[in-house]
Point group: C2
Chain length 342, copies 2
DNA sequence: TTGTACGCGTTATCAC
DNA sequence: GTGATAACGCGTACAA
């Protein structure tokens, strides 16, 4: 059942219009280089045959795919969703298609996916964070594939990046925490291994503590994957400590949401008994109860700017310049002064 | 600066190993069809040249891309994230790569993206929901691209689908609501136009009401995009009604989260004064306060099964069979009996 | 302005 | 077991 004829080619269109394949190709790619009359005929044929150019053939011929690849650590939560959506929107405006895949925070998987994307002819690659084997960068260099790092800004890194200063942002938040009067600060961080954002956020807190003359060794730190349940578990462990922390700073909003959920389960009221902070300001942050005091990251802006810069690199208009996106602390209800000294 | 030599080809490898391109190709694709000794030499050359096959060329030759495309309505929130991640995981296990793009709930954009994906040689397509111009299905038919619908199960539809019965699921939830004693029920639905899931969910509620002998005309229904803020707005409008509904059922958890947030802002306590329900059971549902009574959708299971079925179709092992995924109501705290009659 | 003919990198079909 | 060689569909010098 169904017609057995396969997709029409440039040749089919040419025959139908009584012209050569070259003319058809020109009609499609540079219409001004062909006379009105023939163009009409050709377009007619294109329409009636419902011709769609074969992508692989075009890539072969022109050695460009108008495809940008992005490898993100996970699609499982909303951390990267908004920024990536904006990235894609801008890319489309510029005539590029986005190819996404996720590495599940596994460097080996990421390496694999980078190879796949390059083999598929991606004209450029978006990577998250700088922490990566140098071998990978060499590979990209060899294949002449421009790449850009996002979600992290490091002007001194070898790769250009469009992102924000994770350390500085978290440091600022920590200052607010200190200013509120907290001294017994605990951290729930994401896994720092192979994750420069997580590392920088921890470093930012430590920096703020040092500036205040506080010993950083004393502060409890738990590393755990960015999952609600993990955040909840970690929070429970921290609450069992003696002395109990008066504030739990979290590596991102997902962990903070987990902490909040656990606090409720344990009948610990936030922020009256314990304060909690997040990072990212994803939608979640405004919805949980109490709403999270967190670091606002302009994900959309970052996504669009990253797209613009990467396209510029791909088109040879830029050698890769880094762009710093400004973040700011957004104050909601999960942070308050500590309970009066016991 | 940088070496100017471009990526090595099969030919380069062949020369380096002193064999023909055919042999190199065989080494890579069916290693058993070549003798150990030569294979060693070839692999050595592959290694040292860091050869990566050119994808476009392979696609041209073999007329298969081992790529599956998926067009989802949005990447902006978590509705599709988990299912899609599972879809991708299974795809990878089967040796396929996923290409995602989002249509922003715009039929025109979706049409565009389908064409793009097909032109890129996608071996199969995953679509969300059945509501779509017949022209699109004809196009896919012409191009011999198998496609599968997900997030919606409709055995009678022309397209095979791996999903759940949105109507039945919502109907069951509505029965619970009725059983709790509610009679003044309001709905915040997603935009139903072009969205069969949203339509089915509304229909499910209406069916439950009818079964109870209640007039469906009387029940307030607001349609609004699936966004937190929109859910909040709609909730506010419903709360201004007289008589005020005793329960607000929402088209999904995102809308419900918005409703909850607004309830809190208005100092309306849930579920004591008003009950709220969701749909999907995304992570959000367990985190908001009070936790949402909602319909649990096994997104991971759906994603994996969709991948398996679509791959089977692409490989000619299936003509497309529909799979129904079972959902169930999960009871948390946002639904309670209505306040005692005034 | 339009047509001819070749190349892009791979796989598959033959011979050898 | 291995090597020529012909596709695959498109873009583009180059020629007309």
């Amino acid at each position: 059942m169904g017609k057995n004829r396969s997709a029409p080619t440039l040749n089919d269109v040419a025959k139908a219009a009584g012209v050569s394949t070259a003319t058809v190709s020109r009609c499609l790619n540079s219409p001004d280089r062909v006379i009105e009359a023939t163009r009409q005929r050709v377009m007619q044929a294109v329409e009636s045959l419902r011709y769609t150019p074969n992508f692989a053939a075009r890539v072969m011929a022109v050695k460009r795919s108008f495809t940008i690849g992005a490898i993100i650590p996970t699609m499982d939560n909303a951390i990267f969703a908004r920024g990536l959506q904006a990235f894609q929107d801008q890319l489309r405006e510029d005539g590029y298609t986005l190819l996404v895949s996720s590495s599940a925070y596994d460097p080996e998987a990421e390496r694999e996916q980078i190879r796949t994307l390059v083999a598929r002819g991606a004209d450029g690659l978006l990577l998250i964070g700088h922490a990566r084997e140098p071998e990978i960068y060499e590979y990209l260099e060899r294949h002449q594939v421009p790449s850009l790092v996002a979600w992290s800004f490091e002007p001194d890194a070898t790769k250009p990046s469009v992102g924000f200063n994770n350390s500085e942002a978290m440091c600022e938040l920590a200052r607010r925490v200190l200013a509120a009067g907290h001294r017994r600060i605990a951290l729930i961080s994401g896994i720092t291994k192979g994750n420069d954002r997580a590392q920088a956020r921890v470093a930012g807190i430590q920096q703020a503590l040092l500036a205040e003359g506080l010993a950083i060794k004393k502060f409890p730190l738990i590393e755990t994957p960015y999952e609600i349940d993990k955040g909840a578990e970690a929070f429970a462990r921290l609450m069992a400590l003696d002395p109990r922390p008066t504030v739990v700073m979290c590596g991102n909003d997902v962990l903070a949401a987990g902490a909040l959920r656990e606090a409720q389960r344990l009948n610990i009221s936030v922020p009256e008994q314990v304060s909690v902070t997040g990072f990212d300001d994803i939608e979640l942050a405004g919805i949980v109860h109490p709403a999270l005091t967190t670091v606002h990251v302009p994900h959309r802006e970052m996504g669009r700017k990253a797209a613009r810069e990467l396209v510029a690199m791909v088109e040879g208009r830029s050698l890769g310049k880094s762009v710093c996106i400004n973040t700011h602390v957004v104050t909601r209800h999960s942070l308050a002064p500590p309970p009066a000294a016991e």
